[in-house]
């Protein structure tokens, strides 16, 4: 569910437009993986609306996998096309820190 994080959007990670074809996606990913492997400096970060983020081989591979899945691609496209929020979003508290079930339930957090 990492596509929920704006800055991890597969299109940002791969540095490509939201209308890229499947082949373009694979080609770009393969290039980036090669560059990362050989330590190219320009491959090591990518720009996002929230500032540059470190790019790793894992992120690149996860991005390709996400874009191969039609549903996940749709979601990623949606996010990439929408204007980014003005200020950084607070990440939700990790699921592991349960402890106030009553309140969280009231807020629609489920379990």
């Amino acid at each position: 569910m990492h596509e929920l994080k704006l800055e991890d959007n597969p299109f940002f990670v791969l540095g490509i437009a939201a209308d890229a074809s499947r082949i373009e996606i694979e080609r770009e990913a393969q290039k980036l993986l090669g560059m990362l492997e050989l330590g190219f400096v320009d491959a090591q970060t990518y720009p996002t609306p929230l500032g540059p983020r470190p790019r790793t081989a894992e992120l690149v591979r996860a991005a390709v996998a996400a874009l191969r899945d039609p549903y996940r691609r749709l979601v990623a496209e949606l996010w990439a096309r929408h204007a980014p929020p003005a200020k950084p979003a607070e990440p939700p508290p990790p699921a592991s820190t349960a402890g106030t079930p009553g309140l969280r339930d009231k807020l629609g957090w489920g379990r």
Partner: protein, 812 residues
């Protein structure tokens, strides 16, 4: 430059095969007997000499005690296989290693090159310990490096590679082997192969056909041998082998004679066997088994919104699919064509060889290249669907050449000259010829235009169908003390993969105390409740291995890593004491004592009765249907347990895994029973998420929520509890993210946590935190308030019952 050799091996339960791919052609390896398949049978004689394959298979009947078959089904268990004549025992992976060694030798003989690297296929439903055992077998057989690949992906790759029309569209691989059935739905587009989904039955295959025929033959004998009688095993074995031979014969002929040279000895009587068997009888006996496989296919299709008839092609794999009846039944029920021209016995090995190319795993021993020029590191796809892939490179050392150019072997194309950066890096791309292996010479020039020799002098890229990283088949996570699961890697995540999360200990681990253990259970499954997932390994940190006492609430950074073949590694770092722990206890597939199986079956039957009564009370038709199917599977398991009492270890394992599966389905049914509750909860989540996201969400969150709500609706209509849970989780996350953006959020969390401090494990600390929180609230310092709230949450204890169900997890 000589051609690469990519090696693929299908290590089957009944038969094994090997194939090589040289970049253009796939060829199947023949063994010393000239056959393309080698029976996975190993014999150890009195002198401890080993025979493998066809020659060993001849002894299955003559000397069954010293001839082992079907040991793949015991992979990952501790079961030792005895060879009484030699007085030796061997582990299943050691026997698999013998088969691999034989195949490795056959490849060497045929190609004249020793092989050190290969891709070995494994069933899609293999558990982690079974994959680990397969890797170990390869190591024992002398392979330096192997990658594991799921069998259905291998078949699909091989079938798609051959497809003349690019194989575009949706298709199904129907793999019915000796003991397992796998159905996989795939899609190819633009030369990319994607696994859409798969399903299967671990306990369905040719051997079931054999038993059905054997029981039929047995019933026609003057004295009927029984599977649960240890004294009848020899007679049944002989009969089963004859049944199998007749079955294979009937794939071609209409009639077969089942005649044994020696009479069977049953209960002290000599029983002659000379029976006629017709194709019609065999078809009648086996049809229900084929239908079971077809039920799985239909279930798979409908899970992806497809009706029969919507599949472009079906690829048949495995020995039993040679039977004409299987072909016609599949074509009729799935209303589609059978893809022709594939060898069902070697397709998996061929696909594994093609995959070895994709993974860049040349089978030959690494050549010690004498650098004949400037060394350059290159990154490029060994196999590419893209006709114009990138080539990325970096020269080693200072003062790299200035320009670089790639020239295709046919001389008809060369790349524009690319500039090499001062750090030695360059980026260019090449143009491939469709469906061909292209070699490109690397030409470099210095600043003055002089030619610079480089190592390697050339590269080869194959154009063809590719498959992305293999997807993780089941979600992997850590069980938490509160009974929930922290998901590390979701189903479908591309392998290899790695993820780190920080947890906190729920109790103190005292230095030097061997009783005090911090347990981190690693589980696999799609459910949010730990007890509904399977434990696949544990990382135990004992008090006797730590440098210092680790107090409650200490941070533990856990990293879980999986390689392409699904091998698991886990690591825990405890920053407070600066120690790293990485010994994962790989759980063995547990031993299956017949008595324990009896007890488990009794237990499941009792649960089933309760569930059924409940389902009737609530009028849940779909649950009742599910339970009926379970009932049938229990009867099957019972037959296997019977055979287990007769000493059949394989049947025991089969029963164990069947019972586990039944247990899992029952948990599902249990969830379905709680449906009304879940359904209500879903409605509540939907309403609350809509209002929170509506008020505080971004545009993107709002449109995403629409999608999630639609998916929830669908799951509710289809009564798919697991999917509904997943979507609810998504909706809750969206609403949480939106809500957390408001200043009041943390104020509310704080007030709630503060009201519960009497339950906290460390009251003085909790009181201190509350004071700090109040101050932060007054100052309007949200960042500080968040820190305080999280610290307070960490002090609230977990319920001990939940913890027990979470495999005694010591973290949250």
């Amino acid at each position: 430059m000589d051609k690469p050799l990519y090696v693929g091996i299908d290590l089957g339960t009944t038969n094994s095969a090997a194939a090589v791919f040289d970049g253009e052609q796939v060829s199947v390896i023949r063994n010393a007997q000239g056959a393309t398949v080698t029976p996975s049978v190993v014999r150890l004689d009195k002198q401890g000499r080993i025979t493998v394959g066809t020659r060993a298979r001849r002894f299955v009947e003559q000397d069954p005690a010293n001839t082992a078959a079907e040991f793949k089904r015991l992979m990952g268990t501790e079961k030792a296989i005895e060879f009484p004549a030699a007085g030796i025992t061997r582990k299943p992976e050691e026997l698999s290693a013998e088969v691999l060694k034989a195949l490795r030798q056959d490849i060497h003989d045929q190609l004249g090159v020793p092989i050190e690297r290969a891709v070995i296929s494994v069933p899609a439903l293999f558990e982690l310990p079974q994959s680990a055992a397969t890797s170990e077998a390869a190591r024992l057989a002398g392979f330096q490096r192997v990658e594991l690949l799921q069998e259905p992906i291998a078949s699909a790759l091989a079938a798609g590679w051959r497809a003349d029309d690019d194989g575009a569209g949706t298709w199904l691989v129907f793999d019915l082997g000796g003991g397992t059935f796998d159905a996989s739905l795939l899609e190819t587009r633009d030369g990319l192969l994607r696994v859409v989904g798969h399903d299967g039955d671990n306990f369905l295959g040719g051997r079931d056909f054999d038993w059905a025929i054997t029981e039929h033959l047995a019933s026609r004998l003057s004295v009927v041998p029984r599977r649960n009688n240890p004294d009848h095993q020899a007679a049944l074995r002989a009969l089963r082998l004859a049944a199998e031979d007749a079955k294979i014969e009937l794939s071609r002929g209409e009639k077969a004679q089942v005649a044994l040279a020696q009479p069977l000895s049953i209960d002290g009587q000599d029983v002659d066997v000379d029976l006629e068997l017709t194709r019609g009888t065999v078809e009648q006996l086996c049809a229900p088994l084929v239908d079971r496989a077809l039920d799985v296919c239909v279930r798979l299709l409908s899970a992806h919104g497809l009706a029969p008839g919507r599949v472009g092609k079906v690829v048949l794999v495995g020995g039993p699919t040679v039977m004409p009846m299987v072909r016609s039944r599949v074509a009729a029920r799935l209303e589609t064509q059978i893809a022709e021209g594939h060898d069902p016995m070697t397709l998996v090995a061929q696909g594994a060889a093609l995959y070895a190319a994709t993974a860049g795993l040349d089978g030959r021993a690494a050549q010690v290249a004498v650098p004949a020029g400037r060394q350059v590191w290159l990154q490029y796809p060994a196999v590419s669907a893209d006709l114009t892939p990138h080539v990325v490179g970096k020269f080693v050392g200072d003062n790299p050449p200035a320009k670089i150019k790639l020239v295709r072997g046919d001389g008809a194309w060369s790349s524009p000259e690319a500039t090499v950066g001062p750090d030695g890096t360059f980026l260019t791309s090449v143009t491939l010829l469709p469906r061909r292996a292209c070699t490109f010479a690397i030409e470099a020039r210095g600043a003055g235009g002089e030619v610079v020799n480089v190592t390697p002098p050339a590269i080869t890229i194959v154009q063809g169908l590719t498959i992305g990283d293999p997807p993780l088949s089941r979600t992997l996570g850590v069980a938490l003390a509160n009974g929930h699961v922290q998901v590390y890697l979701e189903r479908g995540a591309p392998l290899p993969a790695r993820r780190t999360f920080t947890h906190h200990t729920v109790e103190t681990v005292a230095k030097g105390s061997s009783e005090s253990i911090l347990r981190i259970p690693i589980v696999q499954g799609e459910m949010t409740q730990a007890d509904l997932c399977r434990l696949v390994g544990t990382l135990d940190i004992g008090g006797d291995s730590i440098k210092d006492t680790v107090p409650t609430g200490s941070a533990v950074e856990v990293t879980i890593e999986l390689d392409r073949g699904g091998r698991l590694a886990a690591r825990a770092l405890i920053p407070a004491i600066g120690q790293v722990f990485e010994h994962v206890a790989h759980l063995l597939v547990p031993d299956a004592a017949p008595e324990a199986l009896d007890a488990a079956l009794r237990d499941l039957r009792r649960q089933l009765m309760e569930l059924r009564a409940d389902a009737f009370r609530h009028g849940l038709g779909h649950v009742i249907e599910k339970l009926d199917r379970l009932e049938a599977r229990m009867s099957e398991a019972e037959r296997d347990i019977d055979a287990a009492h007769g000493g059949d270890a394989d049947a025991a394992q089969r029963a164990r895994r069947a019972l586990l599966d039944i247990d899992g389905t029952m948990a599902d049914a249990d969830l379905a029973k709680k449906w009304p509750e879940l359904d209500n909860e879903a409605r509540r989540v939907a309403i609350s998420a809509s209002s929170t996201v509506g008020l505080h969400g971004t545009d993107a969150e709002r449109s995403l929520l629409q999608e999630v709500l639609a998916a929830m609706d669908k799951a509710r209509k289809e009564k798919d509890a697991a999917e509904l849970e997943r979507q609810m989780r998504l909706a809750s996350r969206l609403s949480g993210a939106a809500f957390n953006r408001t200043p009041e959020a943390w104020e509310l969390y704080f007030e709630d946590a503060a009201s519960e401090i009497s339950r906290c494990t460390d009251l003085p600390k909790a009181n201190r935190l509350v004071t700090e929180g109040k101050a932060a609230l007054d100052r309007g310092d949200t960042t500080e308030l968040r820190r305080v709230v999280k610290a307070l949450w960490a002090l609230l204890p977990e319920d001990s019952e939940a913890r027990r169900k979470a495999y005694d997890s010591g973290v949250r």
